[in-house]
Symmetry: C2
Subunit: 354 residues, 2 copies
DNA sequence: TATTAGCACTCATCGCGAAGGAGTGCTAAT
DNA sequence: ATTAGCACTCCTTCGCGATGAGTGCTAATA
């Protein structure tokens, strides 16, 4: 089942060539452009074997060969092993990104958006970045403030400095003392508590202590619940969806429409994020080739993802979506470098955003 | 220059037919499917006239005619006049939307997103909705809260209940009294003030009064400035970009790519919003045909926009983008109804969101 | 005078078959 | 084991005639 050296070299040559041209590769091409010094006939025999083994396939009888998913898979795995060390390639793109990360003074949202855009511009593929997922976080601070006679403002801060506001309408004006009491009640009972651990008994208890203001407590708890809910559907930023038009194999109406919808709805991309976050291989980089992807509209694409991690276990995903004949080499090394930048730089610096 | 009744009828028939089929319309078709009882020869003569006048044109010598931008323009203007009254058409879609608006309990963002989606599904065109633009608003409430030893939380509420949070890191812990003082200082000086009217002199004054905590004041003012900045780049929600693939005249690679980019970047859509908001015709509905649109990537499209207005002069834009042969009738009446729903329903109900 | 029938003409589109050519598999020679 | 040679496959391209939709013009008609 294992391939000998020569077969592997030929397969690699086929894939390399196909990545460049997007056209089926013939035996003569391989014979000419490799250092194997073999005639096209020999190559043909080997190709015949490779086809039988399922690494390549023929679009039609008298065409050259193109890599199968299995072929790509071998190629990628092999590459990942070989290139393990040469991380500090420090390409132009990465330097740019690094600069951007250091420059950041505005919100995470803006940084992620721009990062997606830059990645797309650099790779010529479609990109997505998910904001770090808030999960298992503790309440840090709750406050009720009187904005005007009829309106209270709830402010909830969760560890990791995720902030959430909510307006509550009240029937009659609350005096300062009552407001202070409620604030103390909320903070002494809830501060430091993981949101998930807030249960019905506690809520009932709070309400009882709040007396006639139980209704307000209820609304505050709704807002807290909303924080959890918000944390579930992660924000996803995309860019470069138009890049799919650069690859004829993706830009027929049917496929293009599906892909565009996927990028626009972002719903399905979430599946990709979840899948990436759960299945954690060693490197933090994953490659989905063709049908391997969890998003079925991308079955004619390849997807490379990286997970990055900020402090406090907040994880996010970066994804690059392109044709099967993606420049895996470039994409993987770019993602690796970017990932490590994010992992380290963000952890050093400790300010954060809302 | 003005068209006689017959010419107008023929032009109308040509446009109607072309809207349905997307194919050039021949004289025989018109002769058969109108109540004019004219032979195709007569129609041909009239069509020749209409072409000379610039209302229709021929893709090639022996093809039928298609409407020119000028032709569409006449058609739309005419239609807008005729249909002025029949607003209460209360179609299925509108009823659904109305229900959705009444149901709303979550944030504006979610409502607008879903509205865009629904519009796209109903019309089979691409849609966009801009969130109401915050402009000329007054500060309603400012608060500094101590979240932990090193961090202060700024909460700023603007009229219309736009809420903005910001974390401030401090070197040493502030005691309760100082915090209270700062809060009183901020609120007595700034509450009720239009954000634009805050000037350097006021800031200097505040800083002086804050004494050693001038740095904190500076950071709060930065956050206030950020509210203005936020207000400028309006959020725009889009949906149904994939619908362009339903119209062959828009879905060649070149055009599709440009349009998709426009929808993804949203930058350019902002121009459309601004244009719509400034140039205010009577009805609040605008129709851009082909090259009339301010967004050049949409030169092969028609764009219909409506402005809606919430309380306090907050205006937003709804846009529908489709091919030139758009079903203007349906789109306009849908937008008209939706607009009036938004105008009235939102004004009645007064709760709001952050 | 306006309308219409008739006709020649234009031109995009479709189908078809031949030519071209890239690439293969097989066989026989090296 | 490798390779040269050759027949074969089949996709692609191109040209060409047929088709047909639609026009403009002219002459006849009401």
């Amino acid at each position: 089942m294992d391939l000998d050296e020569r077969k592997r070299k030929i397969l690699q040559a086929i894939i390399r060539n196909y990545l460049e041209t997007g056209e089926p590769v013939g035996s003569r091409t391989i014979s000419k452009y490799t250092d194997l010094n073999l005639s096209s006939a020999t190559i043909r025999n080997e190709m015949s074997d490779l086809e039988e083994l399922g690494y390549i396939l023929q679009p039609h009888t008298s065409a050259g060969r193109i890599p199968s998913d299995k072929g790509y898979r071998l190629y990628v795995d092999q590459m990942m092993l070989e290139k393990e060390e040469q991380l500090n390639q420090a390409t132009q793109e990465v330097r740019e990104m690094q600069k951007m990360l250091l420059d950041r003074e505005d919100k995470m949202e803006a940084v992620l958006k721009q990062m997606a855009k830059m990645l797309a511009a650099n790779t010529n593929y479609a990109t997505m970045i998910s904001a770090p997922q808030v999960r298992g976080n503790k309440l840090k601070f709750i406050q009720l403030s009187r904005v005007d006679a009829r309106q209270l403002l709830t402010t909830i801060v969760v560890e990791g400095n995720v902030i959430k506001n909510n307006m509550i309408s009240v029937d009659q004006m609350l005096d300062d003392e009552t407001l202070l009491k409620l604030n103390i009640l909320l903070n002494t009972n809830l501060n430091g508590l993981p949101i998930e651990e807030i249960n019905l008994a506690m809520i009932a208890n709070l309400k009882q202590q709040a007396g006639i203001h139980a209704g307000i407590i209820a609304e505050v708890m709704d807002a807290v619940a909303a924080v959890i809910k918000d944390g579930e559907n992660v924000e996803i930023y995309t860019s470069g969806a138009n890049n799919i038009f650069k690859y004829p194999e993706l830009s027929d109406n049917q496929r293009a429409s599906e892909l565009i919808t996927t990028f626009e709805e972002k719903q399905l991309l979430n599946e990709l994020v979840q899948d990436t976050l759960t299945d954690e291989s060693g490197t933090g980089i994953q490659v989905y080739i063709g049908n391997e992807t969890p998003v079925k509209t991308m079955k004619d694409c390849s997807v490379v993802t990286a997970t990055y991690e900020l402090e406090e276990g907040m994880k996010g995903t970066i994804g690059i979506i392109g044709p099967r004949r993606m420049d895996y080499d470039k994409v993987i090394s770019t993602l690796k470098t970017l990932k490590s930048q994010l992992d380290t730089i963000y952890k050093k610096d400790d300010r954060d955003s809302g």
